[in-house]
Symmetry: C2
Subunit: 172 residues, 2 copies
DNA sequence: GCAACTGATTGCGAAATGCAATCGGATTGA
DNA sequence: TCAATCCGATTGCATTTCGCAATCAGTTGC
């Protein structure tokens, strides 16, 4: 573990955790993309992370307590990465970051639809999403009533709808 | 300006803005510390930023539209840095980051009291604070009724109270 | 004049980044 | 059986960025 800190300021300490170009991207792909394996993170990343950087960040995020690693029973060589509660509670920060980026930065429509829905859903939606993540990653019992559509599925469906609409508009 | 982006994802684009160890620290010192000059930022930083890094980040934050620079009428060589609306709207993100850090990271009591108050105050307090910043940095009319104590003063007073209490406890 | 202060800039070693190739073991398909 | 593929990494290397110290020229106060 890292014990040398620049200061005890909470913003500074948070920055020491994700003050780099890749850590939050990995967590984003795990949270919103549902990725759990090394290769999924490596090949699924639209930003194109390098394998050595990914390996280094996964290790670092484990040391920091944001991820855990377990063997995949279906494949002796496969490792499953799980979010910890510490990482799951980043959902509101992700939502705010996405909302801020959507206002001020040149976001693409299909990649910002998730941020838009998350912003409109507000804290209740974030809570539901965090519950889902606790279920998937920590084995916690799910609180939502049966039949409730998953937040990730909703976001993914909205993303795919935008992609489909844009594809149609391009060929029309 | 930077026009090459890794992706149009709002979280990625936000990360391209402050995905480094210093940019947010500088904004933090301007927002919560009220610092406006190069030397104030350089010498007041508890994390100890180097002057070349500070110069580089100030330039970058200006190019990105988060800061503006103006001449200080009191000193021909002095520059005053101002936050733009884009930077002022980071206050909720700062508040969330601080709250998250306070829960999960080894924060010091005196440096996290501000985050605690900001968290307890919630969105209404953040709005009041952003109004103050708009007044200070953008010349906007202040909305709060006269006599309302400033948010920054409240935070600063709370910080000093903790420092004083700890100093007293140490000598007792 | 001159020291202190202003916002920077330069030089340089250390560290991080990004890319490509590779590793040994596990699994899959023919 | 055996080659192809997939698994989570690791290594080597060139480029870029970082961070520290020293320094700069112009401005101000005395």
């Amino acid at each position: 573990m890292y014990t040398e800190h620049r200061s005890g300021c909470p913003i500074n300490l948070s920055l020491e955790v994700f003050g780099d170009r890749w850590s939050l991207i990995i967590l984003r792909d795990m949270i919103f993309g549902g990725r759990r394996h090394f290769r999924e993170l490596l090949n699924g990343s639209i930003e194109g992370i390098a394998s050595n950087i990914l390996a280094d960040r996964l290790k670092r995020l484990m040391e920091l307590g944001l991820l855990t690693k377990a063997d995949d029973p279906s494949h002796k060589q496969k490792a499953i990465y799980s979010l910890t509660e510490m990482a799951i509670t980043l959902v509101p920060i992700m939502a705010h970051l996405g909302a801020w980026g959507r206002v001020w930065l040149p976001v693409s429509e299909e990649l910002s639809i998730r941020a838009e829905l998350l912003e409109k859903g507000g804290p209740p939606l974030w809570e539901q999403f965090m519950d889902e993540l606790r279920h998937e990653h920590l084995g916690a019992p799910i609180k939502a009533p049966p039949g409730t559509p998953g937040v990730r599925q909703q976001l993914q469906a909205a993303y795919e709808a935008v992609v489909a609409r844009k594809a149609e508009a391009a060929t029309a």
